[in-house]
C-alpha cells in the first residue's frame, strides 16, 4: 500500500463551527455547529431540504462553505475536493453504491489506489487485507466474488470495506439501512458497534426514527438549514424527535379505520415477466386486491416489484399469466386503455415516469387527462379550464408552488409527489398501484401521503402498495404479501403480522419455514 494511505491521521475529533452555505434563493446551512468524536455515532436527522446533505457534502469536501470553519483534532482544515477529505481520514458511504458489477470485491476495493508493485496488480495483498478488515468488523464477504453475484447487503459491506481500506477513521453513512432487510439491519448495527469500539467516529444519516434511536449516541436535528437541537439518544423519544424535525406534532401512526371490503378489483394469475436484462423477474405471481383494501407488497429491492407494477400498468409485456380488472382480462393492454379502466399509478421513479421536468405544474396535473373534457375541446386545449382545475388541485392537495405556471423541476420532492397524488387520486381510481410512494420524502410529506392512501381506501379503491419500507407496509396494509425472486413467499393478514417472520420471507425462506423458525 502506498504511504499516502498509511500515514493518515486518526480523527479523534471533528468540529465544524458556524458553517454557512448559500444556494440561489436558499440558505442551505445557516451557521451550523456540529461535532463528532472518535468512539461515537452522531446522527444527523432532518426533513428533506433541512440541510443534511449540504452539511455532509461540506464535511466530505464536495462543497466549499461560504463561511465557518472545520477543525480536525484541533487543527483547522480546508477541503478543496473529496480527495482532501480522504487524506484527512474521512470516508463516505453513499446511498447509491458506486461499484463495478463485473469486477471482484478485491478489484473494486483496489480501484483507483496505487499498487504496492507499481504497474503490477497486488490483488493478493489487497484480498488479505480485506479479510483482516472483514474479520475485525464483522463484514463477511469473499474478496474473489464478483460484485453482481452479491446481495444488496453484501454490496454495502464492500462499500464500507472500501472506505475502511482507505484508512478512514471518520465514516459518513448516507441512509445506509434503506436497502436492507430487518435481519441485515441487525448485522449492520453490529458492524457499527465494532467500528466504534475500534475508535472510529461515525456520522449517520437516516429517516427511520427507531433505527436512529437504537444506533446513535447523539442526535442532531436540522430544520431549514439550522440546528434545532443536539440531544443524547438516551433522552430522546420518537415523538420528540419528529416534533423537532417538523416543528409541530406529527402523527406517526396513521389511523386504520374498519372498511367493508368489496369485490376483487385487481387480480393477477400466474403472472410471469422478464426484467430489463431479459432474465425472468416474475415467476408466476398470484395476487388479488379487493375494493377498500390495501395489499402491501414487501420485499428487498430488485425482487420483481418494479416489473410487477409495470406489467399491471401496461408498461411491460408479461411472458405468461393474466391481469384482470373487475374480472375483465386486460393482459397486455396499452397504458391508455388501462387509464380508461380506472387504473391510477404512482410510479417508483417519479421524475422519470410520472412527470415532465420542464413542464409547468398545471401541465403535469393534466398529463393523463389532457385529451378529454374538461381540459380539451375538439383539437384545442382549454386553458381557462386547465387553469381553474389545476388551481383547485393545488389547493386541495396542498401543493406548495409559487404558481401553476412554475416548472415542475423547481418543486421539492414532497411537492412533486403531492402533485402526482393529486393527478392520480382526483381521477377517482378503481385500482391504484402505488410504488414506493414515500421514498425520499420527509416526515410531513410521508404523513400526508399515508393519510391520502387511507382515505382512498375508505373511498373503495383497491390499492396495491409496493414499498421497501417495511414500517410503511405494516402501518397501511390490510394484508401483506412478501415477494422474493419473483415469487410470492406468503400472504399474511394485518392481525397476524410477525416482523421476524416477514423478514425471513424477504430473505427467501418460505412462509411455513419462516413460521417454524420464528415460533
Amino acid at each position: 500500500m502506498s504511504k499516502q494511505f498509511i500515514e493518515q491521521i486518526q480523527v479523534k475529533e471533528l468540529v465544524a463551527r458556524g458553517i454557512v452555505k448559500r444556494f440561489p434563493g436558499v440558505l442551505a446551512s445557516d451557521h451550523v455547529d456540529f461535532d463528532v468524536h472518535s468512539g461515537e455515532i452522531h446522527t444527523l436527522l432532518g426533513e428533506n431540504g433541512a440541510g443534511k446533505s449540504t452539511l455532509m457534502k461540506i464535511l466530505y469536501g464536495m462543497y466549499r462553505p461560504d463561511a465557518g470553519e472545520i477543525a480536525i483534532n484541533g487543527d483547522r482544515v480546508r477541503f478543496h475536493s473529496p480527495l482532501d477529505a480522504i487524506r484527512h481520514g474521512i470516508g463516505m458511504v453513499h446511498q447509491h453504491f458506486m461499484l463495478v458489477p463485473t469486477f471482484t470485491v478485491a478489484e473494486n476495493v483496489a480501484l483507483g489506489l496505487p499498487s504496492s508493485r507499481r504497474v503490477l496488480l497486488d490483488l493478493d495483498v489487497v484480498s488479505k487485507r480485506i479479510e483482516e478488515l472483514a474479520k475485525t468488523y464483522g463484514l463477511q464477504v469473499d474478496p474473489a466474488a464478483k460484485v453482481w453475484q452479491l446481495s444488496v447487503g453484501e454490496q454495502q459491506r464492500v462499500e464500507i470495506l472500501k472506505v475502511l481500506y482507505r484508512g478512514a477513521s471518520l465514516l459518513i453513512l448516507d441512509e445506509p439501512t434503506a436497502v436492507l432487510t430487518p435481519q441485515e439491519v441487525d448485522e449492520f448495527s453490529e458492524t457499527l458497534r465494532r467500528m466504534i469500539d475500534e475508535g472510529h467516529a461515525i456520522v449517520f444519516i437516516s429517516h427511520k426514527l427507531h433505527e436512529v434511536l437504537a444506533l446513535s449516541d447523539r442526535i442532531t436535528v436540522l430544520r431549514s438549514g439550522r440546528v434545532v437541537d443536539t440531544v443524547p439518544a438516551v433522552d430522546a423519544t420518537k415523538a420528540g424527535l419528529a416534533r423537532l424535525m417538523v416543528g409541530r406534532e406529527v402523527i406517526l401512526q396513521v389511523d386504520h379505520p374498519e372498511v367493508a371490503q368489496g369485490d376483487v378489483r385487481l387480480a393477477v394469475h400466474g403472472l410471469s415477466a422478464n426484467g430489463n436484462s431479459g432474465l425472468p423477474a416474475l415467476r408466476g405471481v398470484d395476487l388479488e386486491v379487493r375494493a377498500g383494501e390495501i395489499l402491501g407488497l414487501a420485499g428487498v429491492s430488485g425482487n420483481g416489484q418494479k416489473e410487477l407494477a409495470e406489467v399491471i400498468a401496461g408498461m411491460r409485456r408479461p411472458t405468461g399469466g393474466r391481469v384482470l380488472f373487475d374480472g375483465t382480462d386486460v393482459t397486455g393492454a396499452l397504458p391508455g386503455k388501462l387509464l380508461d379502466h380506472g387504473l391510477s399509478y404512482i410510479p417508483e421513479e417519479r421524475m422519470v415516469d410520472g412527470t415532465v421536468r420542464d413542464f409547468s405544474v398545471a401541465e403535469n396535473l393534466i398529463l393523463k387527462d389532457h385529451h378529454r373534457k374538461p381540459y380539451a375541446h375538439w383539437v384545442f386545449m382549454d386553458s381557462a379550464k386547465i387553469a381553474s382545475e389545476s388551481d383547485r388541485l393545488i389547493e386541495a392537495f396542498d401543493i406548495r408552488t409559487p404558481s401553476r405556471q412554475t416548472p415542475l423541476k423547481s418543486l421539492s420532492g414532497g411537492n412533486i409527489q403531492k402533485l402526482i397524488l393529486a393527478r392520480e387520486l382526483s381521477r377517482d381510481p378503481s385500482v391504484l398501484v402505488a410504488a414506493q410512494p414515500t421514498r425520499g420524502l420527509d416526515v410531513s410529506a410521508t404523513e400526508y401521503v399515508h393519510r391520502r392512501l387511507i382515505e382512498q381506501r375508505s373511498a373503495g379503491t383497491a390499492t396495491l402498495l409496493i414499498s421497501e419500507d417495511l414500517d410503511e407496509i405494516l402501518n397501511l396494509s390490510d394484508r401483506i404479501a412478501v415477494i422474493y425472486e419473483g415469487r410470492i413467499m406468503g400472504i399474511v393478514d394485518r392481525e397476524d403480522v410477525d416482523v421476524e417472520r416477514i423478514g425471513l420471507m424477504m430473505a427467501g425462506v418460505s412462509e411455513q419455514a419462516a413460521g417454524n423458525a420464528s415460533a
Binding site: V352, L367, K368, H370, P407
Partner: protein, 358 residues
C-alpha cells in the same frame, strides 16, 4: 468536475426569454468574430467584408430579393423542423424531402394536364404529400423498429438525390433540352407569380408565414401539440400518460416532411420552372434549416426571424464570391461556426457562470 476557485457555476432555475435571446445573439457574434480570422487570412478586412455582405444582401432591391428567395425554403423547412425537434425526432432529411416535393410538383406540372389555377394548387398538394411520405418512412422505422432517425433521414437524402438524377437524365429528360439534364419547361400556368421584377414567389412566402403561425398554435394550444411536447420532453412519461409515440412521431414527420415538400415546390415552380440537377434545386437548404430551427430555439414563430438572418448570409455568399472573389463555401464555415457556438451556448442557458468575488 471541480471548477477553479474563482469561478462560480450555478444551475439556472429557468432561463428567461430575454436571457435566451441575449445568449443567442452573443453566440452569433462569437461566430462572426471567429469567421473574421478567415477573411483576415485572405488579406481582407473582416469589417469591410461584413459591410459588403450586409450591403449586398439588404442594400438594394436585387440583394433584398435574393435574401427573401433564400429565406422562403429556409422558413418552410425550419418551421417543420421545429415541430420534429419538439418531439425529439432528429430530422436531418429535409433536403431529401425538398427534392421529393420538387419531383411531385414537376410530375403534376408536366403530365397532369390540369387547367389554369388548379394546376398550381395540385402541385402544392402533391409536393406536400410527397415530402410527407418521404418523412414518414424514417418515422415508421423509428417508431416500429427503433431505427436511428439521424441515420435514416440522412441516408434518404441520397436516395432522393439519385431519384432526381435518374429522372432528369432518363424518363423525364426534356425533348427540347438536347444534351442538358433538365426536364421540359413547365407550362405558364405552373409558374408561380413574383412580386414585381424580383424573384420572390410570394405564394410560397405566404405559405411559410402561415405555416409558422399555424405550427405555433399547434404546438402551444392543441392536444396534439401537448402530446408532441410530452413525447419530446419525456418519452417514458408519455407512455404512462397513454400517449401513442407512434402516432405522435408519424404526425410530426408528416408535417415536417410536408413543409419541406412545399419548399421544393416553391423552388421548381417559382425559380427554375423545371426539374433539374438536385444540387441546383436545393443549395443545402435542408441542412441550413437545421441551424435555423435551432437558433429559433424550436419556436416556429421565431423561425421567421432566423430564416431571414440566414437568407442574408446566403445572399451574402454571392457577394463574397463575386465582389471579393472568395469561395462561396466560406458561408458554410459561417453556418458551422454558428451551430458550434449555439450548441456551446446551451451550457450558458442551463447554468449561470459568474466570477467569485472575495
Amino acid at each position: 468536475m471541480t471548477a477553479p476557485n474563482w469561478l462560480k457555476i450555478e444551475r439556472r432555475p429557468v432561463a428567461s426569454g430575454r436571457t435566451v435571446f441575449i445568449i443567442s445573439v452573443l453566440a452569433i457574434l462569437a461566430a462572426l468574430l471567429v469567421a473574421a480570422i478567415f477573411f483576415a487570412a485572405y488579406g481582407i478586412s473582416p469589417i469591410y467584408a461584413y459591410y459588403l455582405i450586409l450591403r449586398g444582401a439588404l442594400g438594394n432591391m436585387h440583394g433584398f430579393s435574393e435574401t427573401i428567395r433564400r429565406m422562403i425554403p429556409l422558413l418552410l423547412c425550419g418551421v417543420g423542423l421545429t415541430v420534429a425537434f419538439r418531439a425529439l425526432f432528429w430530422n436531418i432529411g429535409a433536403e431529401g424531402q425538398i427534392l421529393m416535393g420538387a419531383i411531385a410538383a414537376s410530375g403534376v406540372a408536366l403530365f397532369s394536364g390540369l387547367p389554369g389555377p388548379l394546376l398550381l394548387i395540385a402541385m402544392f398538394i402533391a409536393g406536400f404529400l410527397a415530402g410527407a411520405a418521404w418523412g414518414l418512412i424514417p418515422a415508421a422505422l423509428k417508431a416500429k423498429l427503433g431505427l436511428n432517425d439521424v441515420i435514416t433521414t440522412l441516408m434518404l437524402n441520397y436516395v432522393a438525390m439519385y431519384v432526381v438524377l435518374w429522372l432528369v437524365h432518363g424518363p423525364w429528360k426534356g425533348a427540347s433540352m438536347r444534351g442538358y439534364a433538365y426536364t421540359d419547361m413547365f407550362p405558364n400556368a405552373a409558374q408561380l407569380p413574383m412580386i414585381g421584377s424580383t424573384s420572390i414567389h410570394w405564394p410560397t412566402l405566404m405559405l411559410g408565414f402561415i405555416a409558422a403561425v399555424v405550427m405555433y398554435i399547434l404546438v402551444n394550444r392543441t392536444r396534439s401539440g401537448f402530446e408532441i411536447r410530452v413525447v419530446g420532453e419525456n418519452p417514458e412519461a408519455s407512455r404512462f400518460a397513454g400517449i401513442s409515440q407512434f402516432k405522435t412521431t408519424m404526425l410530426v414527420m408528416f408535417i415536417s416532411g410536408g413543409l419541406a415538400g412545399f419548399a421544393g415546390v416553391g423552388e421548381v415552380a417559382g425559380i427554375y420552372h423545371r426539374l433539374l440537377d438536385p444540387s441546383q434545386i436545393s443549395m443545402g437548404y435542408g441542412f441550413t434549416a437545421i441551424i435555423v430551427a435551432w437558433l429559433a430555439r424550436k419556436n416556429p414563430l421565431a423561425v421567421i426571424v432566423t430564416s431571414f438572418f440566414f437568407g442574408i448570409l446566403m445572399a451574402g455568399g454571392d457577394v463574397i464570391k463575386i465582389q471579393l472573389r472568395l469561395p462561396f463555401q466560406l458561408i458554410n464555415v459561417f453556418n458551422g461556426l454558428i451551430m458550434f457556438f449555439l450548441i456551446g451556448s446551451e451550457l450558458l442557458i442551463r447554468y449561470k457562470i459568474s466570477i467569485r468575488r472575495r
